[in-house]
């Protein structure tokens, strides 16, 4: 075969559509145009022949083998996944979640119960714990203050607070 001649504008235009032409994916107008060009251009005819050769070369010579127990493996994996699916929190948790309205009612109910308990049960407990023991504890804590009760510092501060400021 001789050296292929340089591509003309017409050849370049046809070559871009040659693949689609071979696949039967060009419009009737393009098809007629390409066929007319191929009738007079041996280089483009050769390009089309090469394309057809390639298509034939892609034929499978040795068919691959599927695992004999392929379907059984898929079925067993599917069963495993279905079993896990029941325990999967992404599926189960949303189903367990109550509707937003129910959640709001539960929150209000919780607040109400909490308030009631504070008023009745906890109030009694607070009353009983305010005993002499607790007063002594509070007084002991007061000893750590910068001016403990009954100290000289407290007396000085008291004196300063009641003495009016004398302006010169």
């Amino acid at each position: 075969m001789g050296k292929p001649s340089p591509l003309t504008t017409d050849c370049t235009r046809v070559r871009t559509k040659l693949s689609a032409f071979e696949d039967g994916e060009v419009s009737p107008a393009w098809r007629a145009d390409i066929e007319a060009h191929l009738a007079k251009c041996s280089d483009c005819r050769q390009a089309l022949t090469d394309l057809r050769c390639l298509w034939r070369a892609l034929e499978d010579a040795v068919p691959p083998r599927l695992q004999p127990d392929f379907a059984q493996t898929v079925m067993s994996r599917m069963t495993e996944q279905s079993g896990l699916g029941l325990l999967n929190w992404r599926h189960v948790f949303p189903a367990m979640l109550p509707a937003p309205a129910t959640m709001a009612i539960l929150v209000v109910f919780g607040l109400f119960i909490g308030g009631w308990m504070g008023q009745t049960v906890m109030k009694d407990r607070l009353m009983t714990t305010t005993s002499q023991e607790q007063v002594a504890t509070l007084a002991a804590m007061d000893a750590f203050a910068p001016t403990p009760r009954g100290s000289l510092a407290e007396g000085y501060l008291l004196l300063v607070s009641i003495t009016p400021l004398v302006k010169p």
């Binding site: 693949s19 696949d23 050769c53 892609l58 499978d60 010579a61 599927l66 379907a71 898929v74 599917m78």
Partner: protein, 180 residues
Amino acid sequence: MLLVGEGDTFAFSCLVHRHQDTVFRFIYRFFGKEEEANDLAQEVFLRIWRYSRKYKPTSQFSTWLYTLIANVCKRESRSLWRRNISLIGSFWISGSDVPEATAHTPSPEDAALHAEQSRLVLAAIESLPPKQRLALLLRRYEELSYQEISAIIGCSVSAVDSLLVRAKDQLQKKLVSPQK
């Protein structure tokens, strides 16, 4: 398929038997490895089971199936490990890489020649970028139209045309030209 969506395991089993070869062969051609094709084909069927409730009979089942297969292939080829391996493999296609097909060939000379041809074809296909490979396999072996391929890959018809032109051009350089 609608029965599968309702959780019918028998219908799913029938579906697996009917389409297992198609799914397996497609993935085998995409990656060129039997073991990997078996694993990924299983993954495709498990996805079918998982997403069967979302299947709408408005589109063809084959299109839906090929979209699932394409997604599995794309995801797998995107992983760093696979990308590196295919990158290394693309440097020597006509050389010394040995796909598994040769391991199962019988001794006669014809079978050996066919195995060699198959090895070259698989290696050449594997050297293509994933999108070009998908387009080529869908066109050459599944005989889908450009319109169907565009729906599966998620691009325009003209993009499919362009992918196929580039894929054929590369394959021609690797398969046909050296034999001349």
